[in-house]
Every structure is written in structure tokens, then in C-alpha cells.
Amino acid sequence: MAQDSGFREGMGIALRLGVELIVATFIGVMMGYALDKFFDTRPWFLVLGVLFGGAAGSLNVYRIATASLPGDVKDPLDLQKNNKKQKDR
């Protein structure tokens, strides 16, 4: 049963990440596009929107990844270092 729930959680995270990244970027682009239409300032808000949207998407993915880490590790980068150390050994 424990193994089963691990699989379910893993699938959940895997299916979440991609959509999260794309949707945030898409929202940023749409907001930038709408603001450009409104203020007639093409393409500046669009550029800003892509950047902010991409940042929001990456941040969301980072948060999901951090939340799904095993208990004592707080930062994904630490996990990477730990793995490296274990490999070096």
C-alpha cells in the first residue's frame, strides 16, 4: 500500500509540472498582449509578460519540486550535492 501511494504521488507531480509551466507563461503572454492592446504600446508589455509569466511558471515548478522533497532536505540544490557526494563515495 505504501509503495502504491508513492506511485500515485509521483504520477500526480509528474502530470502537474508540465501544465503548470506552460499555463503560467501563457497567462503572462495573454496579460501582456491585452495591456498592449489597451495602451497601444506594442510590443513592450508583451515582452514583459513573457518574462514575468516564465518566471511565475518556473517559480511554481520550483515550489512543487521543493514541496515534494523528502523530509529533511529543504533545497533541491542540496539534494543534488548529496547525490554527487554519494556518487563520489
Partner: protein, 242 residues
């Protein structure tokens, strides 16, 4: 050969129009009614049959699934989240039923319509906003500024947080809708191949249809699980504010 997207089209079975509103009954509406009836009927059967200390088959299913949802609510919202248990539980069972009903040949998957999942997601989003504002008042806006951010970064963080806030209902609805639509399209394509090929070749795509049907069953459960988990996460976020 028929288009693989043909079975997503909806045609009214009973025409109904009240005050200019088109309220025609079609396959999707009937599938949703059946879904509701199954959830209601299952739990009525459990309660009517008399609850016993040593649970029977149906009572065990009901108890295990309710315990599972209870654990989910406790984990993501916390102890004060128990008042949302009813909502989360109903949502989960309804989603599971609707996803699984769609796998019966000839029926309809209502979650493959963006309108349905979008309506659910927008309702949940508005609900989280209402919960947040009623619980924290004006202080709720601090959800837009993550803790430990330098003052210099705040003008950058606020738009990013606004975008990721608006992305929530959209990603919630698009994920469910896309997974269901994609799965059923694959099934339709494979079945179309099986039907148009001669028998000595047709068994191959037909075999895949059977396998993918099994996969779809897992996807139906996992997607319902993700949908309810994320609902819990979003409610938990506005209650705890980071």
C-alpha cells in the same frame, strides 16, 4: 472513416428552451445525472443497509475512501480544514464517477469538456478567494508577497505572484480536460484502426485498445485525485498564508 473527435460532439436529445436559454438535454447532461445518481446511490446503500462494526463490502469501500480523503484534507489544509471535508469528498467522488462512466463504451465523459472542468475550477478559485478574504480581511493581500523577499524585489514578485495565482484555475481545468480528451482520442484512433484493418492485422490495434483502456482507468482515478489534492492545496494556501 469517422473522425476520432466525432464522439466528443454533443447533440441535443430533448430540446428544451426556457426564456431564450438553451437548456436542451444531451448526452453530457445525462452522464452527469448518472454520475450523481451513482455517488448518491452508493452512499445511500451504505447507510440504508445499516452501519455495522464489522463492515461489509460496500461499507468497507465507503470507509476506506472516506478515510483516504480525510487524510488528504488533514495533510494539505490542516485540522481546521475538516469543515471543507464535505466539499472535497463530494468533489472527489463526483470526479471519479464521471471519469469512470466515460470509459463505458457509448457513454460520455463530461470531464472532456473544458466548460465543465472550467466551471469547477472557477468555482473553486472564487471559493478560495472568499475564504481568504473572510478569514484574513485586507491582510489577505500579503499572499502576493512571499516571505523573506527583499524590499527591492517586491515590485517584481507581485506581478509574478498575480500571474501564478491566475494560472491556478486554468491549469486545474486544462489538466483534467486535456488528459481526458487525449486519452479518449487515442482510444478512438486505435479502435478506428482496428475496425478498418482486416482481421489478421486488426487484432493488434484492438489489443492496444484493451491495454490503453486499463491505463485510462488509472488515469481517471489519478486525475480525480490530483484535482481534489490541488483543491485542498489551494484552500490550505489561503488559510495558512504561506
Amino acid at each position: 472513416m469517422e473522425s476520432p473527435l466525432h464522439h466528443f460532439e454533443l447533440h441535443p436529445i430533448i430540446h428544451l428552451s426556457i426564456g431564450g436559454l438553451d437548456l436542451s438535454i444531451n448526452k453530457a447532461v445525462i452522464a452527469m445525472w448518472i454520475g450523481m445518481a451513482i455517488v448518491f446511490g452508493l452512499f445511500m446503500l451504505v447507510v440504508r443497509g445499516g452501519l455495522s462494526m464489522v463492515p461489509g463490502k460496500i461499507q468497507s469501500i465507503a470507509e476506506i475512501s472516506l478515510e483516504f480523503i480525510k487524510g488528504m484534507v488533514k495533510e494539505f489544509i490542516g485540522d481546521e480544514g475538516m469543515k471543507y471535508f464535505n466539499f472535497v469528498g463530494s468533489l472527489f467522488f463526483f470526479m471519479v464517477c464521471c471519469n469512470l462512466i466515460g470509459l463505458i463504451p457509448g457513454s460520455y465523459t463530461i470531464t472532456s469538456q473544458l466548460v465543465v472542468t472550467g466551471a469547477f475550477a472557477i468555482c473553486i478559485f472564487i471559493m478560495t478567494l472568499v475564504i481568504g478574504f473572510s478569514k484574513h480581511g485586507g491582510h489577505f493581500f500579503s499572499i502576493l508577497v512571499p516571505p523573506g523577499v527583499p524590499k527591492l524585489m517586491i515590485p517584481f514578485m507581485v506581478p509574478i505572484e498575480v500571474i501564478s495565482m491566475i494560472a491556478r484555475p486554468i491549469s486545474l481545468s486544462v489538466r483534467l480536460f486535456a488528459n481526458m480528451t487525449a486519452g479518449h482520442t487515442v482510444l478512438a484512433v486505435l479502435f478506428g484502426l482496428a475496425m478498418s484493418a482486416p482481421v489478421w492485422l486488426g487484432w493488434l490495434p484492438f489489443g492496444f485498445t484493451v491495454i490503453i483502456n486499463g491505463l485510462e482507468m488509472a488515469i481517471a482515478l489519478i486525475q480525480a485525485y490530483i484535482f481534489t489534492t490541488l483543491t485542498c492545496v489551494y484552500i490550505g494556501d489561503v488559510i495558512k498564508l504561506h
